[in-house]
Assembly symmetry: C2
Homo-oligomer: 336 residues x 2
């Protein structure tokens, strides 16, 4: 890379100290009362030499990098891809750049991502935490590194977070199914202690109980790394045979999609054989032969709130906020 022009180059050219150049470049010529002539000369020289400040040097000196570390489960998953996009835009609006990483829901990967990003001196983190990472989050807090959790959080660790009211979302979905006459309602969720999953399951169970359907509760749990296989088993258990269910709620985007593959394979009629409700939006839901009813998350709001809260913290606020967002139930034919 060819030699870049530095503050010193400008200072030399104009014949002043680097201090003055720095003031002018940073728009402090008023406060520092830099001479009008000098300001003009510096401006001209900066333009001529095509000066671009070196953020790395500035970061080292100021101790802040104007960078946000974003850790999601998988950037290729549309839910996280969309969230990342919102976060990117909002961060950029506030003068921040974002470095991202995918944890694959693995606590080890997440740990090494966190380490790498700390070494890169990110000013703060937005994290979709993997299971079993409470200690990592606590460690971050002890180091006083600003952070906000998204999508999920830990009850035992007091942090800023912004998440969906997952309990309410599931409860609403099940209530809707029941209102439409379904009673034998199953659910397929990920096997996970993470709060978002627990809450989605709890919403299902409580809604069933509230309608005196506790005997119809049929919950199947799928392993994240074996989504397809486990989901297929689960669907076979639930949707076939004597005790088959008549409606189902999937707990995530990816579970819904893999569930749809099973449904195709089993050749089930939707909603006649089985009513379905999915989680999160997905273009695939629109094109399934019966358009899918699904729980829509306010991704835009989630991303913006997360960035906003993080930047507040970076700017020194010690306020802790827990934000729960409301879902929207997009009702279509799959749950009629």
């Amino acid at each position: 890379m060819s030699k870049r022009t530095s503050l010193k180059d400008i200072a030399d050219k104009v014949g002043v100290s680097t201090a003055l150049v720095s003031y002018v470049i940073n728009g402090q010529e008023k406060e520092k009362r830099v001479g009008k002539e000098v300001v003009k000369k510096i401006r001209t020289a900066a333009l001529e030499l095509n000066y671009q400040p070196n953020q790395i040097a500035r970061s080292l000196r100021k101790g802040s990098t104007k960078t946000i570390g974003l850790i999601v489960a998988d950037i290729a998953n549309p839910f996280f891809g969309n969230l990342a996009r919102v976060i990117e835009d909002e961060a950029s609006r506030l003068g921040y750049t974002v470095i991202f990483g995918s944890s694959d829901e693995d606590s080890g990967k997440m740990e090494s991502l966190v380490d790498i990003l700390i070494n890169r001196q990110v000013d703060g983190f937005i994290i979709v935490p993997a299971e079993g990472t409470e200690l990592q989050i606590k460690a971050l807090q002890e180091k006083k590194i600003p952070l906000v959790l998204t999508d999920r959080y830990f009850i035992d660790v007091t942090t800023n977070y912004v998440a969906l009211d997952n309990y309410g979302a599931s409860f609403d979905a099940i209530t809707h199914l029941i209102a439409n006459g379904y009673k034998k309602i199953g659910m397929i969720a990920y096997k996970s202690n993470l709060i978002h999953m627990q809450e989605r399951v709890r919403g299902y169970i409580e809604a069933m109980k509230a309608n005196n359907l506790e005997n119809e509760i049929r919950l199947e749990e799928v392993r994240y790394n074996y989504t397809m296989i486990d989901n297929e088993k689960a669907m076979n258990n639930l949707a076939i045979g004597e005790k088959k269910i008549d409606a189902i709620l999937f707990a995530t985007n990816s579970l819904t999609v893999s569930g749809l593959y099973c449904i195709k394979k089993l050749n089930l009629k939707i909603p006649e054989d089985l009513a379905i409700i999915g989680f999160d939006g997905n273009e695939a839901f629109d094109f399934f032969y019966t358009p899918l009813t699904y729980i829509e998350q306010p991704i835009e709001e989630m991303g913006k709130e997360a960035v906003g809260m993080l930047v507040e913290q970076i700017d020194g606020s010690t306020k802790i906020a827990h934000i729960k967002l409301r879902h929207t139930l997009i009702k279509r034919q799959s749950s009629l």
Copy 2:
């Protein structure tokens, strides 16, 4: 953020110079022949103080940041989301971190992204260039900043790139349609001078000509920022009325999806009323009531090659490589 431990802290604790600590931390104790005892003491102290090197300082000193700048059209688009994921993994494997940004196919946005990333001293760029950004790319080259273009490139600017053989892909798709008996074949593309689009269109036209169907050529061009509206008009022009076509090739992922919405609206039977071939994979293609035939890009290979070529350049290679990847035509019922 509480005070982090620095090299100096360790040096003070052990009673040696920071030079020795640096050597040990960087595994150069052999070359620099640091005393065995000293090495041990330094290691212990580093562990005790939980030392984490400050990458910013190292970057400033070494003039390299081990960071890659990635600019795509839109990280929320599944094609780019998947590409980003591959790039993330490959970069991480080689010790690099990635900072990303979305240009929205806008040259102004791309320019400001490039500037921001240059100021952050990325070691190199992987760019999916927007239309009209030749000069930006040239400027990057003049600054000797390593770079590889992906998905598209510019004929007038000699750079490293890795892209699909788009001409071949379209040609193959059209040939397949013709083999299946379709003759009135239309295409919907983006209105763009970018090479990938031009090549996709050229493949269509040449394939039609090669089969003496030049009189049946019906190309519609859609504006990126008005995808939905323009696509609807285009579909109305092509698929309705006297001169209606019997098959269509969509030029991208997003065009295919928005086309599917139109097809639903128009209530067309696939493939009886209209055969379709899409571009790139998308879960939605699997669930459309007639599974879609589509052109699959080798995203994994594309991302890995891009990172590999970039890192070679960063490491000093001046070799220029143009890599064209082959597609796979996934044949299903929509083109029967």
